[in-house]
Amino acid sequence: MGDNQKAASSDVVYGWSDLFSPDEEGQGPALVGSRCSTCGYIAFPSLQVCPTCLIAGTMSRHVLSRSGKLENFSVVRQAPKGFQAPYIQAFIRLPEGLAIFTHLIGVDPDKDLIEIGTLWHVTAAVIKTRDDGQPLTGYAFAPAREMING
């Protein structure tokens, strides 16, 4: 964390090296948060202090589930600089209870049926084009079936 200033010129999204593991334990990409050893609270992006216990030093690195259910989404048709509209902004609810803000990829927002409650899988993806024309990488969720089919 703390690399807010670098985010603008970096080729990865804010806090990337802390929040994403490209091949966690040889099982593919995963999001990384933190978990409280006292109460079990899970934070993403990770926090250094547990907000429920409010005790310092109880949080440690925690790899999140790779798949979750689509809770809500909206198609963005007016995009900020560098983003290509339409794109899909969504929340994915992970089995451990927390919801992740993400883009959905691997579907066409105008052609494909996107259903609440379906299973989606995390992956690395190009999120936007930087001012210098280079891609910026972040995470996104793709339909879980496409991950199985390759």
């Binding site: 985010a7 929040l19 934070a43 809500n72 995009a79 900020p80 902004q89 919801a99 999120i127």
Partner: protein, 388 residues
């Protein structure tokens, strides 16, 4: 805040002010408020200046408030810069109230200024995105789509139709058509709202507040101080409560932060939500009005759309909502909006709101919110209650 009153308010029409800088707009709103208060400006001891986007949009990264005040003729008095995204305005107002409540100053000024129409919509959109958390911002979080998701969930919960949510715009653009300070003064029909361009499903263009330029200001003091100067109606600030969006999974998640902040405001004011007889909302996307009046507990869960259909929230209804036209009609120059809400409460309570006057306006509430933390919640929530 026992005996704090608003002695004067000022505003400039919201809209496109191509030839006015944030300093010009601030100066005009400040002097409108001074004239409204009929006050010797030398008595103002401190200024709280709210602005959100002059960093990314005008390149004014630091001490914007001092430059705004200097252009209005003030130098030497203390200036506090306030930035809380779209909730900056009422936060500046809160600072001014606490300034005089603490006895630090006899009179305090709050002014909000914003210039968003810079001829580059994509850049303005990017700057607004900066009000989300750093991660959300870098992922391109769009406030329109965030509201869209919340509204979709609410529609599904109560089985509401697209007509139900579009009706909010019909009411608010009618109110806005009666407000000479509003940006959008064309009343829209249900058909126009529903057939307008889709911005983020289910939100159409007319449901979304327009980016805008503008400024608004208020001057506050103790009631006994004001009474030595004037015999006019002096709306009392009975509450101005501020809270922040909570991290997911912390505290009682069955209650929204809006509700928690509103309850703290009702307690401070020693009133209940049933005592509120008109409301100004933070309807950045007009249909959010339905969710917000429920979260404020002004109506029961699921009742908002029924109230709207039956005219309870119309001008002349039991609890008019956004008589000014709200954000969708008045426009939303983010750092100025909260003070425009305060000005509207004051005009209504003084009976000076003209064609959009709420009959028997006695207790008015304004909800102002801004930013986004790593949840579906806003970063800042401010509930202000004024009473005559």
């Amino acid at each position: 805040m026992d005996d704090i009153v608003v002695i004067g308010v000022g505003m400039i029409p919201f809209g496109k002010h191509q030839n006015l800088s944030i300093y010009d707009m601030g100066r005009q709103a400040i002097w409108n408020a001074i004239q409204d208060a009929d006050l010797d400006p030398r008595k103002i001891g401190h200024a709280y200046v709210s602005n959100s986007l002059a960093g990314p949009l005008q390149g004014l990264e630091n001490t914007r408030g001092q430059f705004v005040m200097r252009e209005a003729g003030f130098s030497g008095i203390g200036v506090t810069n306030v930035e809380n995204a779209c909730a900056s305005g009422t936060n500046a107002f809160r600072g001014a109230c606490l300034e005089v409540a603490s006895g630090a100053s006899d009179f305090a000024l709050a002014v909000g200024v914003e210039k968003m129409l810079i001829g580059d919509n994509v850049r303005t959109l990017g700057a607004i995105t900066g009000a989300a958390s750093p991660l959300y911002a870098s992922l391109g979080y769009q406030f329109t789509a965030g509201y869209a998701m919340k509204i979709k969930k609410y529609m599904a919960k109560y089985g509401l139709s697209r007509e139900d949510i579009a009706r909010v715009v019909v009411k608010n653009t009618y109110n806005g058509s009666l407000n000479p300070l509003a940006y959008q003064r064309t009343p829209r029909t249900l058909e126009e709202v529903l057939s307008a361009r889709l911005v983020a499903d289910p939100l159409t263009l007319y449901m979304c507040c327009p980016n805008s330029d503008g400024a608004a200001a208020a001057i506050v003091c103790r009631e006994r101080t004001a009474r030595q100067l004037t015999s006019r109606i002096l709306p009392r600030v009975v509450a101005c409560s501020l809270g922040s969006g909570r991290l997911p999974g912390t505290g009682d998640t069955s209650i929204s932060t809006t509700t928690l902040v509103a309850r703290s405001a009702y307690e401070a004011a020693s009133i209940g939500p049933a005592d509120i007889n008109f409301v100004e909302l933070h309807d950045a996307m007009a249909p959010a009005e339905l969710i917000e009046i429920e979260e404020l507990e002004v109506c029961q869960p699921g009742e908002a759309a029924i109230w709207l259909r039956e005219g309870v929230t119309s001008l002349g209804g039991k609890v008019p909502v956004s008589p000014s036209g709200g954000l969708a009609a008045r426009g939303h120059p983010v750092g100025a909006t909260g003070l425009a809400q305060v000005a509207e409460l004051v005009w209504q309570l003084r009976g000076e709101a003209g064609e959009r006057q709420v009959p028997e306006a006695k207790v008015g509430l304004a909800l102002n919110q801004g930013g986004r933390v790593d949840t579906e919640e806003a970063a800042a929530y401010c509930v202000t209650i004024l009473k005559r």
